[in-house]
Symmetry: D2
Amino acid sequence: MLESIKADTSENAGDYEVRNVLAERYASPCMKEIWSPRSRVLMEREFWIAVLKAQKELGVQVEPGAIEAYERVKADIDLKSIEDRERQLLHDVKSRIEEFNELAGYEEIHKGLTSRDLTENIEQLQILRSLEHIRIKAIAALLQLSKRADQYKQFVITGRTHNSPAQATTLGKRIVMIGEELLHGLERLDHLINHFSVRGIKGAVGTQLDLLTLFSDDTSKVAALERKILEYLGVTKMCHAVGQIYPRSYDFEVISVLYLLSCPASNFATTLRLMAGHELASEGFGASQVGSSAMPHKMNCRTSERINGINNLLQGYVAASASVAGGQWNEGDVSCSVVRRVFLPDTFFAIDGLFEAFLTVVDQLQIFAARINHEKDEVMPFLVTSTILMEAVKSGAGRETAHNAIREHAISVKNELRTGKIEKNDLLQRLAGDDRIHLTREQLEFILSNGGRLTGSAGAQVDWFVRQSLGWASRFPQATQMRPGKLL
Amino acid sequence: MLESIKADTSENAGDYEVRNVLAERYASPCMKEIWSPRSRVLMEREFWIAVLKAQKELGVQVEPGAIEAYERVKADIDLKSIEDRERQLLHDVKSRIEEFNELAGYEEIHKGLTSRDLTENIEQLQILRSLEHIRIKAIAALLQLSKRADQYKQFVITGRTHNSPAQATTLGKRIVMIGEELLHGLERLDHLINHFSVRGIKGAVGTQLDLLTLFSDDTSKVAALERKILEYLGVTKMCHAVGQIYPRSYDFEVISVLYLLSCPASNFATTLRLMAGHELASEGFGASQVGSSAMPHKMNCRTSERINGINNLLQGYVAASASVAGGQWNEGDVSCSVVRRVFLPDTFFAIDGLFEAFLTVVDQLQIFAARINHEKDEVMPFLVTSTILMEAVKSGAGRETAHNAIREHAISVKNELRTGKIEKNDLLQRLAGDDRIHLTREQLEFILSNGGRLTGSAGAQVDWFVRQSLGWASRFPQATQMRPGKLL
Amino acid sequence: MLESIKADTSENAGDYEVRNVLAERYASPCMKEIWSPRSRVLMEREFWIAVLKAQKELGVQVEPGAIEAYERVKADIDLKSIEDRERQLLHDVKSRIEEFNELAGYEEIHKGLTSRDLTENIEQLQILRSLEHIRIKAIAALLQLSKRADQYKQFVITGRTHNSPAQATTLGKRIVMIGEELLHGLERLDHLINHFSVRGIKGAVGTQLDLLTLFSDDTSKVAALERKILEYLGVTKMCHAVGQIYPRSYDFEVISVLYLLSCPASNFATTLRLMAGHELASEGFGASQVGSSAMPHKMNCRTSERINGINNLLQGYVAASASVAGGQWNEGDVSCSVVRRVFLPDTFFAIDGLFEAFLTVVDQLQIFAARINHEKDEVMPFLVTSTILMEAVKSGAGRETAHNAIREHAISVKNELRTGKIEKNDLLQRLAGDDRIHLTREQLEFILSNGGRLTGSAGAQVDWFVRQSLGWASRFPQATQMRPGKLL
Amino acid sequence: MLESIKADTSENAGDYEVRNVLAERYASPCMKEIWSPRSRVLMEREFWIAVLKAQKELGVQVEPGAIEAYERVKADIDLKSIEDRERQLLHDVKSRIEEFNELAGYEEIHKGLTSRDLTENIEQLQILRSLEHIRIKAIAALLQLSKRADQYKQFVITGRTHNSPAQATTLGKRIVMIGEELLHGLERLDHLINHFSVRGIKGAVGTQLDLLTLFSDDTSKVAALERKILEYLGVTKMCHAVGQIYPRSYDFEVISVLYLLSCPASNFATTLRLMAGHELASEGFGASQVGSSAMPHKMNCRTSERINGINNLLQGYVAASASVAGGQWNEGDVSCSVVRRVFLPDTFFAIDGLFEAFLTVVDQLQIFAARINHEKDEVMPFLVTSTILMEAVKSGAGRETAHNAIREHAISVKNELRTGKIEKNDLLQRLAGDDRIHLTREQLEFILSNGGRLTGSAGAQVDWFVRQSLGWASRFPQATQMRPGKLL
């Protein structure tokens, strides 16, 4: 019997640390920094000091030396001590106030504030910084897709719909199909960032009562304080009429925009896994990498699978954030507290990890031209049936009549190939003999021989996409330097 | 034993029609029209005719009389006949092509098109028209909230956080708290509409191959055709590089924006149900309305509950739309077909029904001033504790020291009131005797007597919101005429 | 500009009927019957009559002729008239009471009942009958899988993990992998049915007060009444201590079990779509079927895609049902009303449609042996690497040392094949020369030549599954007769 | 400008640890132990040793001293070293194999196994142990509810539906309403545990090929090995025909049963928050607890809100687990890997935290009798309207006629009370004068005076529930000792 887990429900279990797996395995250091408890405490302390300075400038009495004292100790962060306080007070912000006060030796911070005046703004700042980080990553992904699309702009592949060969396309075009979706998500993200509002300092039920009391009902001073804090936070917009909390639908909006951004990567990963299954492409494979502990030959698309998995996981955070968005009681309740403590950081760790993976996969993408050409040659007579249909129509055939004729022959050929009755695709010969088609054998053969060039607007679309990507890169040049870390 | 349902799995069950309950019970006639199968067929036929006309103008050979023939029969819509065809062909669009051709006596439509060139654009048009309809409703809701907020701008109520009395606020401010959230959702909706792109005519794998073949590779003619069709549809933006389908993350975006819009209504409904539970307010009650078949006295918040319910239901459509957004295979697969057939219309019926309910509830809202005042008087000594704290701080008390002193007394009073040990709230007397507070009895009594006016920026926030609402109404004046239908 | 949709928000839109698309396109007649409004009204009337008869038997005064009058008119169902009443009363059950009373000319029904005494029991009966119907369908699916598994018990295919060739398996084994998952879901469904409890007649807040009043506090009569009604409904279990409503987590349980059942079908459909993409298999294709309106050669897996799509859609209903399960207020609120009106029937229509599709696909499955064998031969040297590893270990090699040696060679071979550097897989030659492997060339060649038989326990697993399926069929023999309808 | 977060996308961010917030703030030590990385490594090593011993017993050659060497080093767990290996190999299991081998100085473990033979069984064991732990907690909750229900069995309160006063009930009955739902969830959990199957040792594609090779195709030895391992794990059931992985719908089942269990607690918490809002009850409040950093008087239901929040969060994990349940490719893919790494532990931490909170709240529940009685007296004339209706019916009134008469009067009274037109509820006087009611003033007054006893079967339901709870406690006596930890 297994010794290591007794789980006998006695609570004498030892001290086993559990780290956040999304932060530790997938996210980048930058995202971890934004959401680490240590950073959070530091941000809050700097916020309190900023408020205190602004209050002093606006005439509130502050004990001499207090601001300097708070400044001096702000980086002395002892998470354990704060937690011990919280176990007494059962109030997280009050614990952090008392810790900071005791370190500084003053009771000057948090005047005129309620807990949410602190926490909502800080959390929104974490969100905003994270969104900005993701924006750079998304643009970096655009640039990589753009490079790949340009590289394979002319490279013809078998386009597939319903997973079955449809028409010819180019690999470049397949990539910009993903690219346009990413562009769309990026525009939404950019709009979100540009219109992002923090809650501001609104007090316990949103009326700013305590600040007004502090400033003896001088509304201009309260307005000035809010302006200073906004400037300090580096944001430009603020809520006007919220209650205790900003509406949780704003969080849902953030999560849903991040979900939007995950979809093109996930579509790309799915298609790459399909291609890899038939050795048309690979996501790359490290020199010392192992694919399977049982089967030494395996080279799996583990990173592409990870992208799909993160997309699935994000669906969970979309659901969790939706579930707290429309059920607020009165001026605010905190039944969303535990939910937001989880979904906010975890969504950002996840999407950050997704882009780390996506950037890596696009960078290390391998294309196996010989296999792709072999596949394309095999199915070419099918890839041109719509062209035959159009030429037949131009030659006077009724569209549906010709469609039906081609359909009959094509399906016969396909069935005979599948069952081994024939070995070679002789669709053209059959069509040549059917006068519903209105085309000669020569015309048909010309179409087939030209089949590898039938990629329509594919090239022009690649050019369009490259231009779009460069436009974004010129707005955010730091994206050109963004490189994913080494994946775990 | 119940006779009516045998459900013995024999399939001899009769012909039982099932209508869409969201369309029939909750949505408005306008939304039903947009999504009815009959409208859909008509839209498609008009689309085909528009393409045909444009093709003719651009030089494609079209049989004389064909356009007129299609025009003549376009309104002859026999859904049963189309369904019978589909049972043979197992392809929905092909059935509709053949029906229309047979009615007209020509085979001229759908040249150079694939099914998705038709269906994606039409569905996006249904979406766009629906979004525009919801925009008007959302603005109408803004205006109603604005009217109510102004009416109750000065009316003081007990502000509650965590469902417990916190500080005074005004009913007008409580309403604009909802209003600002709705404003936020509306801005996102407006942005979505203004940036809405239809797929355009891109062909089977997105390369426009068949149209190019039809126009003998004249790319300018293909571009001209797309422009004409865009104009005809009345939209300004188009996708550039999609495959067979537009990315399904675009659908998720639509649903998520609609979900955003449902949240303020749902928050309002929740708070109204809380208020109604203690006879502070009511959503109104019809003269012939029945609240319960058992208890004749019941007057339930059924419409507010409906709003909450629709918000919950929409969470389901958010999940369904998310689940098909990031799993596309290659140039496109149609594993999303059944999902979109359901979630697109049903989400619009649901959000439309939510606004019908919301507009009704805000319009018929009843406020019971005597009850509200009674509640407020009872808890007033608690509502002013933060003001006492601020005044104490201004008088030189340490913030946390004073907080603790007030906390001790307030909790004692509360506990004694709860258990019936005292009958009257004597918090002020107790505070007056505690020198940690630094305030005299007179000062404390002044604060209490002034308590009913301690609503800070509430009035200014109402004014701000009224201005915003009027701004939207002047952009969309038809919103001022929007009235909900009579609810079922 | 498109004429057909004005959507100008004027509400003069005409009368456009919208039917339930899941019921109309996908569900079977039996499921439609259970959930049709007409059936619902009839079930309710029969329930009222049953209660009335039981009350009379237990001594409640009932006007002579009343029961007969109700019986006589119970099938006169005028949905329009009921709806008109509801528009006045704004209470659905009260409308149906008054309609039935007026038809019969008596006021005898619904005594001692609250609305939920009627509606909860009827809805649970609809659920139970639907579950029983799905149970038969699931068993029918087991039998079909069993037949197919037996047919392909020995047929060797390329087993794939991470979509890349792994080891040999048999098609029969691949099918029973799905089959075991279905068996698991079926067992849960069966358990759910066997433990299904209806709410019973519990009154407005769950205390049975009004029935007790009616029976002058004779608890034995109330118990007798409930027993009679239970018997009448044909169920064996009842809730004991519910409030106004049965807990909505019970609905979530139903939906989640149905979701469980959809997953094996969806896994099967996914794998079939993968196989079809490379012409290894097909879901079948009708003689008159059309695959694409643009590309006449297309033969798409539309039904398999439908299965995946329904699985996705069900995720939405899982979310919607979850969202109303844990938020009940006091003895009950009806914020779940609109949600349940939608997700209960729609989930059943969807899962029913999924099984219609699944039964069809398994029945019409086509397997292309030549293509499968070709694929298998190509990758055989890779499929046997784990066997080589085990034989090496048995010959004394260190497991990880040998693993690493094989890995190095296999990856080189794979890379050279992909890039066209070699044409033939010469892995064995390379391994034979590496003394870390401990195997001679003869031993290696024996393994390779035997590769097509390396399917381990596959056959025994098929036999096991066939036995399980037959066991279920003997418990529910009607499943052997269940056939899907012709799909739309 | 805030210094603490630069988020300049440069990746030079320092080393910021992020711990799992659910594990750290909410879960119990026992649950943390089960899911800690350290425990996981130890469990895996013990599993490998168990397999190795069994292989040796069944005749596989194992180097002398190897087993002892592995035993000796199994607790030398260096997570950092394992992680460093994984960065090279990009394969988690292979890293752990090599680490363990190097520590022991042998290459004997993992023979005949694929990674999933290890990881799936270990994860399922973690799940099973966690489920067993939750079962004890759920029974402990039953016992607490049972104690409370018994305590308040006769205590009459205002029953509410749609949040408005409906009929009288008892607090005991209100509690057992929750209790029955919990009982239902517990039965499902118990069934899940009793039927829980681990994957067993099935090899890379589920055929047990490598084990069979190792045992030279001796199927009885493979069967014996699996039996030994099952026994060792302490489980009784095993999958038969899975592929590389067990079906992910099994995970969804686990999560959905846990969600079921969270709902009664969440319903209870919601109702408690409603009661607390009007000082009818409280969840308790610690001596040193702080309710608000701004408003010293606040005593919030933070723990009840936490329960609701965890219920919401679990909806996210339901969605995430559903999203990977029906999309498996072939014999298995690992696109679920990242998803399961998160939702498995996090769901268990969350549900564990929910029960910690629920046990605490029920234990510390405070009931304020005076407030409850005051509320009840105020609404009593309404609470008895259905009793009046029943007595009227018994006296010969038509049910709907009487219903309508009472309705008219009750609504008038309610409206006059709300608007302050009357101060005292005079419903009885009004009814006495209406001959549609068929009751004298004396009869009506008797009903009203008796109103506080009109709680029907409430007491009997409490007795039933207490019996059920004791039954569970006698099956699992350790539940009587289960106490929640001190909450953070």
